[in-house]
C-alpha cells in the first residue's frame, strides 16, 4: 500500500467518511523526515494538509509523539506553528509514525524568503516576529514539557554543549587548529549556566520558517527540541551560515539585530549579550565539526554521498567565521 493510500485510510477513519487525496507533493524537508503535502477531501470537508512521517524509526532524534506534543505546547504558548490535527503511532498506515497538520502557505526556501522580504520591505518586522516567537517559546515553563524531551546532562546546557563539541574537535580526522582555538575561546569565556532552562527549538533560522508578504507565518521542524539555554535559540539564526550571502544582515540575511532583540524582549525574553556571543561561537564551531562528521561518514562508508564528501571542503568557511567571531 502506498503512503498516499495509507494517509487516506487514516483520514477516512478520523473523519468518519471516505477521504481522497489530491495534489500530493513531497516537500524537501530534513533528511530524517518525509513531509507530504496534499489536499484531503470528503463529501463535506476539504483541507490542505501536511503529513510529517518518520519512515525509519532507527534514526529519530525525537519521537513523533514528543515532537507533536512540543509543537502543541508551543502553539498554546502563542508560537506560530502549523496546527496539528492528529498523531498516529501505528506503523501500519504509512510504514512509520506520523502526524498530520495544517499546510501553511508561504515561502520556506531561504533565497526566496530573502527575495520576498526585500520586495515587501518586511525584514525588520520579520526579525521582530521571530524574536517575539522565540520569547514566547522561552516563556513556557519547561516543567510542562513531556519527560521524553531530551534534557542536558545535570541540567547544565552550557557544560553539556561544550563537552559535545570538545569531543567532536578531539575526534577530527586530522587536527584543525582554528577549531582548537575556537574551543579554547569557548572554555575561556564559559558563561554560568542559565538562570532558567527553557524549551529550546534549537534550529530556528531562515530555512525553518514559513514567511508571507506580511511576515512570519510558522516555525517548522521541531525534531531538535530539547531543554536548554534560551540564548542558544536566540544566537542560532544570527550565525553567518543562515544569511545566504546577505552577510551585513545579521538575522537570517534580512535584518539587523535591533528589531530582533526588541521582539524577544517584548515577549518576556531576557537578552544576555555575552551569553549570546558565546552561543554564536559554539553554534559556529558545532556546525563546523558537524560538516567534518559528514565528511567522515562519507569516507568510512556510513553515508557515501558526494554532498557529504563536499562538506569536508566547507570547513574553511567555518574556520574563517569562527576566527572573525573570536578575534583577540
Amino acid at each position: 500500500m502506498s503512503t498516499e493510500d495509507g494517509l487516506a485510510r487514516w483520514l477516512t477513519a478520523e473523519w468518519g467518511e471516505p477521504v481522497t487525496l489530491d495534489n500530493v507533493a513531497v516537500s524537501s524537508a530534513g533528511a530524517r523526515r518525509l513531509n507530504m503535502l496534499f489536499d484531503a477531501g470528503s463529501g463535506s470537508r476539504h483541507a490542505r494538509l501536511a503529513a510529517t512521517i518518520l519512515p525509519n524509526i532507527e534514526i529519530q532524534i525525537l519521537d513523533i509523539a514528543t515532537e507533536a506534543e512540543i509543537r502543541q505546547i508551543a502553539e498554546h504558548g502563542g508560537v506560530p506553528v502549523p496546527h496539528i490535527h492528529g498523531v498516529c503511532l501505528d506503523p501500519s498506515y504509512v510504514g512509520g509514525p506520523f502526524f498530520v497538520s495544517d499546510c501553511v502557505d508561504g515561502e520556506t526556501i531561504p533565497r526566496r524568503v530573502l527575495r520576498l522580504v526585500a520586495q515587501s520591505g518586511t525584514g525588520p518586522r520579520l526579525a521582530a516576529q521571530i524574536g517575539s516567537a522565540i520569547g514566547r517559546l522561552h516563556a513556557i515553563d519547561a516543567a510542562s514539557a513531556p519527560v521524553s524531551l531530551p534534557r542536558p546532562e545535570g541540567g547544565r546546557p552550557v557544560a553539556h554543549a561544550l563537552d559535545l563539541v570538545r569531543t567532536a574537535v578531539e575526534g577530527l580526522l586530522q587536527p584543525e587548529p582554528a577549531f582548537s582555538y575556537g574551543l579554547r575561546w569557548l572554555e575561556r569565556h564559559l558563561p554560568d549556566e542559565p538562570a532558567r532552562n527553557v524549551i529550546v527549538h534549537s534550529d530556528i533560522r531562515n530555512g525553518n520558517i514559513i514567511v508571507g508578504a506580511e511576515g512570519l507565518r510558522a516555525i517548522l521542524d521541531w525534531e531538535g527540541s530539547r531543554v536548554g539555554d534560551p540564548m542558544e535559540d536566540v544566537a542560532w539564526p544570527c550565525t553567518r551560515m543562515w544569511r545566504f550571502g546577505e552577510d551585513a544582515m545579521t538575522v537570517g540575511g534580512f535584518a539587523g539585530l535591533e528589531p530582533y532583540r526588541s521582539g524577544y524582549e517584548a515577549s518576556g525574553g531576557v537578552w544576555e549579550a555575552e551569553r549570546f556571543r558565546w552561543w554564536r561561537v559554539l553554534g559556529t564551531l558545532r556546525w563546523g565539526v558537524g560538516l567534518a562528521g559528514q565528511a567522515a561518514a562519507h569516507l568510512d562508508g556510513r553515508a557515501r554521498s558526494i554532498v557529504m564528501a563536499g562538506s569536508g571542503r566547507r570547513l574553511a568557511e567555518m574556520a574563517y567565521d569562527l576566527l572573525l567571531l573570536v578575534r583577540p
Binding site: Q174, P175, P177, L183, S305, V307, R314, Y320, P328
Partner: protein, 124 residues
Amino acid sequence: MQYRPTAGELLTDVATLLESEVLEAVSGPLQHRVRVAANLVRIVDREIRLGPAAAQDERHRLSLLLNDFEADLPTLRTALAARLADPEPLGGPFERAMYDSLLATARDDIAVAKPGYAAWKSDE
C-alpha cells in the same frame, strides 16, 4: 610530460560538462548532487594551482610560530592543536601571532574552497 590539455584544463572541461549537459539531462535530487560534483571539480582545479604555495606558506608561518624548522606541515598542525588544548596560558604575543597565522591559512583555504567568502570581514 603530458600533452595539452593540462590537468586544470581537463578539470574545467569536466566541470563544464557536468554543469551544462549533465545537469540538463537529470532531474530531482540528482541535480543537486551534479551541481555539488561540478563545484568540487572546480575546487580541485584551484587546489592544484593554489594548494602547494599555500601549504608552503602555512608551514613557514607555523615553523616561525613554533620555532621548529624541521617538521612537515601535518606535524606542525598537530603540534599547534596540542598546544591549544594544553591549559598552559598562551601569552599575548604568541596568541596574536598565532591568530594572524590561522587567519592567513583560513583565507588561503577559502581562496580554494569558496572564493569571495573572506570578503566579509566583520561580524559585529
